[in-house]
Subunit: 476 residues, 4 copies
């Protein structure tokens, strides 16, 4: 297992292929390092006794102690621990912990590679196990790369005016394949060691070139990472906070004729399994959301309650009612994730798979609620969430006293603490990072409408219809 | 364990003290027998191999096999089984299974009697165990009697213009107490063997006379049961359905100077525990709701989907979306109940107690959703839910053919099946029983605002505030 | 203009063709008379000085003073008065005023008959004017008959397995046509003088037989009215209330080869206008809903507030908040109706036509809110809405005292008044009439999804797209 | 009437008293000029024939043609024009038009000064008329300054630990008063000519020093403007858009012992009228919101529809349904504003006052909906709203081609237009200005809970209670 320093050192050695703010930059760029704070936490806390039992696991491949974010879940307990771990880390990170995506990708691939092999006599699961062993032993960070550009949303991959709108194989060689396309919304790819790529949807029988899954180092020849930064508001040093250190780089990851060697391929043309793999990753990822969404919800509830406390409105009935609303969102989503773990099943690969209905029901509820949670924070915080004077004004020798005097709320709370509380609300409601949390809250891991589809596709509605028929006295 | 015949025979022998429709009736009145159908099912299915493992348990008092509805939960598994059992029985009953209330009351009392004894050196838990043994051995049915009339809702029990608005002790004797008051919304009391009575709220130090809990036979001298019937629409025989056999009697249970012997008293003046007992019963009952609300939700989803199938609209996007909405309500509530079981704890009495937050979060979500579920059924069913001609018209030799012709929907479904499907929708949307399900869905076991209060009172909001303070860099 | 006695007398003379409760009955049956109470009010109050200016108008055909429910709107003021009138009558009727439907039908037909004539050189508008004159002079009551049985909802009228699932012409004669089919959810048809029939949807070019509109007396040969009653709960005489007198008969109106003479035909095969007429009636009817839904909403708000007052919870924050919710629904819907009137336009026929967007937006908001309004009433009323003992128990010499004692709420309000308040809540939440209000609130005049379609079909979304393009600097 | 150049010139001559980004700046600072774009539009378009009739009015004081934003409404038509004007300007400004606030303040003051004079024989209305004449003749821009810092929200102004938490008089002189305090969320104050100050709430009898209203130039001695900028994302020149020119400066306006001469005082100690004035301004401002919220809603609907068009999902049922949701919000709010105008009344001052219920119902609906509208835009736009590569990457000679290729959606829409559409979504969902729109959408003009209070305080709930009593047969 690595330290965060080792993680950063390895990144620094990688080939420059990131573009940000008009420049081509290396992974030692301060913005990349800043954005990696949540990931670094997953290394740092693995040594912390409070987190060790959650953050580490025993590899089912090597029997070694590994970081849980590289683990293939073997039991209900593994799933419960992943969920709990995610919630707790989000409490400290103030938002997305970012490293779950690669882990969820590995787990999804573990299941489908086995299933493809069983059906087609292929060798993908061996490829997977070899890769997973390497990943675990080197304590790597993987970026799950799934969402294609998609072009015309009513056209299938093979029907697009530009076939690259979905990533696909453009050349087949004895030693591997060459792929072209792009993966969008590729969170944290700029500070990942590996890119783990899977299809974004079901494929038709004639769409074998689009049914491709693989993993490659993030600085592979032909890969370009077009990054987009999302940070909190800048503050002067004396008003910086742990939240100031949080950040995120989103990414448009372009594959311009990238070679993928055979041993790194996990699916290649077995169209029937493209959808299974797409949904398989989504399932593990939605289960992760039943940990992180409550975690972020807890934080949003906390910011809201903190401002209510400082304004002295924590006892007001409608304020309490709105806080209970937020609590209930978090706990319902968490309960759904627990249920998904308790009702999980074992795949042929041995991987423990969360229950589809509960994982989706939980993620969907979170997705439907996130803007409402922001609305409540906005409601209770009041206008200062956007009108708070900048920290430069706070520190201004001429008029800083005014800022300090008029942001202060109830007696006994210092101006600085009041300012810090409002600044935190501003970070959530009015910073680029806050906006990213909201959009990710809706779309990350699949928008609510995708969960609708997953639930409707899995749920046995005929059982309910039969309950009704029995009660109605209908005999078919 | 009794058969349903034995249950009815015992009822028939009880003293007449029920009033219904202007008459004083016995428990062999056909309306009472009709309404008891759900209870009877709990006897009948106990012998059914499919239900036996759910419907029976081993008494922790006697070690004997007992009906689970008389059991004191000893483990997480007991709580999970109660939840699952409740959902499954509701599938068959088409609604409230009714017998959980007495069971939840016993469990609540098991916990508090022990706690009072530990604090005050009293003997209530022995009373309880003796009563529970008798209850289990005779496989009895108990009506949980909690909600007082309450009078002026802003006045405390001792401040009421009429002190009887909350049931209280009016006389103390060596061998027991005499009580006066009424318990409202006392579902199924007319076909219960025993009334189990607890306070409805917290009591102040000077409200010892209102801090009273006990159990007595339902035909005890001084007890009057003023019943109110709720049945589905009447249908002619050939169009009757299992749903036609379902019913409910609600009850205003009046205690006009009723003597309660010492051995049947579970709380008597220890005001500090009145609230614990009120909430304790509510907690077990809210956990039961995490089983029955999904059960009823499954049925409502089934009726809705059945009508969509017959109308040939089951593939229409907004119809599917609304069905998914209903599915998600049921599964989120069920997940919360599972979480409450998995996060349950053992009370000093040995009783397994569901987690307060999860049980309340689940019940609350169900309570907020029930009218919306009815709205969806109404939306998909269309106007026939209230304009469906009566079964007499269906059977009319002159114009029955018209009814049959014009209630028929897609080809291949018989007129009778179409009629039956709409009749079932009508039972839910436009019968007295359907109305009772809606109102009970909001208020039964405590209205959503009561869950708000329970959640706010239990949840540690300071933990969230501290998360926010940490992120904001606030050091107190 | 007629008195209510004259109205009833004319009904009594009509041929028996109503079926209810297994019998064939005349229009002097007590249930028919009971159900006609709202209609009767429209005659009675026309003489009341307070209502006269609203309830009467000047015929644009004859210049005579007529009942406004027979009037063809000629101005914005006419539309505003219709809306205000409807709201005020609903306050007294406690629900649907029922007579607007025929009026809305006349107005819709006035517009389309002219448009068809202008396009096809037909003579329908003359037919219409002749009929309208007769209707006004005799102060008639018309039942708008629109909704067909519809069979398979994904099949067009001409594709149905049974062609009668949509009413259509089965024979064409020199002097008229013969029609077959049924109109469902045909509110108040059993106590209407005339049936006014229009298509329920757009028709294809080959569906000329289904593009038929006409008016005939309700007891025409071949017409059968299969009625369905919806009344409030029965109460003993001393507890009857104005609400006890309210009722409704819904109807399945069957046309089994009914002859319609040429002069009563308003559309016959001009398929292109079938949809216009269907939507035209709907438009006037949705505008009526912007009057009645606020009216019923005012009543529901009143019942809720009354119970809060009696329980002494009218000052509690969440109670006030919920009442404000209800107020806002009513006033937003009413405002939309006012806007529809102020933005109305004149059709070629001279009829004043409400704005499509505002009428639909208003009706849709009401439709989405009605179950939520019931939920709030249920929430504030509490369980007694379904557990209230019957009036026979209230009057029982032995135990009536208990009922009276324990339904009483705050000091100073008599037991009878408390009982009456709860009984009213029960009428809305748990009677057949209350259920009908809810279902009609969703579906009457077109379910919310129909308003979605009307709004989307009318609204110029490209104007909004162009606003966005301008702001984005997009030049096509 | 001024040109925008004259407006800017006058600003440039004002004394430097603005602080922004750590500096003390003048009103010719580019950020101030940038932020004033919406205000400048109100000068520029007054000469545009399309807007002239809306943007100008005839002064009731001088009879001269004036900018409508300086007008005192004299008729229903004035109110309707203000509403329509506001909506149309927001279409072009892409958001808040900013100049309504000063206008609403003038109108509120016109009413209350007259009422105070009538009651107390004071001279405030003359002060007002003189100021209004000067304001109109010089075509000035006023910043409405109302919201105090408020400190402890449960303490009254006179009970605060710091009396300056509400602005108040600290010294009384013969020629005027000296005031101290601050007004927060003081939108556009940095580019206003005048500050118009009123109380933020009702005052108690002993709070005369807080019952103070006046107008002074924004650069008066002792006034400090602590500004906070809110702009859209920065783009390179070739990708700038009209939206790039929009902006806003919020402000904490500090009054540190500022002298106000007698002739500029509109209220001074008449505590009973402090609340009237606070609510009076709010009423006019909430009516303005019934114009601007639909205007911004139209734009949000447009951005959403534009992205759906480019993605080719404009025909998908759930997308249409969500767009209809947005349309309905805008039109319901607009209808409420129209109703407020049509039901307006004339105050003793001659000012036309919108109906309180309708103005509040409309504003409240908008406030409850704004986050939901953003959610829909986010839902339909997808993740690119936050992951869109920066314009520098779009223009990058090495990898710009990738950005252009993979942001392109359906065939036939250029990469630039696709990019521009997503950039606009980003401006709304993920820029500081977008965040300001959301927070202002909730709180501007009073949060929804303030409208609850205004509605509850105005609405005659007893009328509804009496409707219910009549129906229940209750005679008091």
């Amino acid at each position: 297992m690595r330290t965060q320093e080792q993680y950063l050192e390895r990144l620094a050695k990688m080939k420059k292929n990131i573009f940000l703010g008009g420049e081509k930059i290396g992974r030692d760029d301060p913005r990349v390092v800043h954005a990696s704070s949540a990931i670094r936490m997953t290394f740092e806390l693995a040594e912390n006794p409070e987190f060790e039992s959650l953050l580490t696991a025993t590899s089912h491949i090597t029997g070694e102690k590994i970081n849980r974010f590289t683990h293939i879940h073997q039991s209900t307990d593994d799933l419960l621990k992943k969920q709990e771990l995610t919630r707790k880390l989000c409490h400290i990170a103030g938002g997305c912990i970012q490293r779950c995506m690669g882990c969820d990708m590995l787990n999804g691939i573990s299941v489908t590679t086995k299933n493809v092999d069983l059906k087609h006599g292929t060798n993908y699961h061996e490829n997977f196990l070899k890769f997973a062993k390497y990943f675990q032993e080197n304590d790597l960070v993987g970026a799950g790369s799934q969402t294609d550009a998609k072009g015309d949303r009513l056209a299938r991959p093979s029907e697009q005016w530009d076939p690259d709108q979905y990533l696909h194989v453009v050349e087949r060689r004895d030693d591997g394949v060459v792929v072209r396309g792009a993966k969008l919304h590729n969170t944290m790819a700029p500070y990942a060691d590996e890119l783990i790529v899977v299809p974004t949807r079901m494929m038709g029988k004639d769409e074998g070139d689009w049914a491709i899954a693989f993993a490659i180092p993030a600085d592979t020849e032909g890969v370009t990472l077009i990054a987009k930064e999302a940070f909190t508001r800048q503050r002067e040093d004396n008003l910086k906070s742990p939240m100031s250190n949080i950040g995120d780089l989103e990414c448009m990851t372009v594959f311009d004729d990238v070679f993928v060697p055979n041993e790194r391929i996990f699916l290649n043309g077995e169209t029937r399994f493209a959808g299974e793999l797409a949904l398989g990753f989504a399932l593990f990822h939605r289960h992760s959301y039943t940990g992180c969404k409550p975690g972020i919800g807890d934080v949003l509830t906390g910011v809201t309650a903190l401002l209510a406390e400082y304004n002295n409105t924590l006892k007001v009935e409608h304020v309490k009612g709105k806080l209970v609303d937020m609590i209930c969102v978090a706990e319902l989503v968490y309960a759904a994730g627990m249920a998904a773990a308790y009702k999980s099943t074992k795949a042929p690969s041995g991987t423990q798979v969360p229950n589809v209905i509960y994982a989706n029901v939980g993620r969907r509820h979170a997705g439907h609620a996130i803007y409402h949670e922001a609305e409540i924070l906005c409601d209770i915080a009041g206008g200062l969430a956007v009108t708070l004077p900048d920290s430069k004004e706070y520190n201004n020798p001429e008029i800083g006293k005014y800022v300090q005097k008029y942001v202060t709320r109830k007696e006994g709370v210092s101006p600085e603490n009041c300012y810090r509380a409002y600044a935190l609300a501003e970070d959530f409601l009015a910073s680029e990072l806050g906006a990213t949390f909201l959009v990710a809250g809706v779309h990350g891991g699949g928008s609510p409408i995708m969960e609708d589809i997953a639930i409707w596709g899995t749920y046995d509605i005929n059982k309910n219809i039969n309950l009704a028929k029995n009660l109605a006295g209908i005999k078919d």
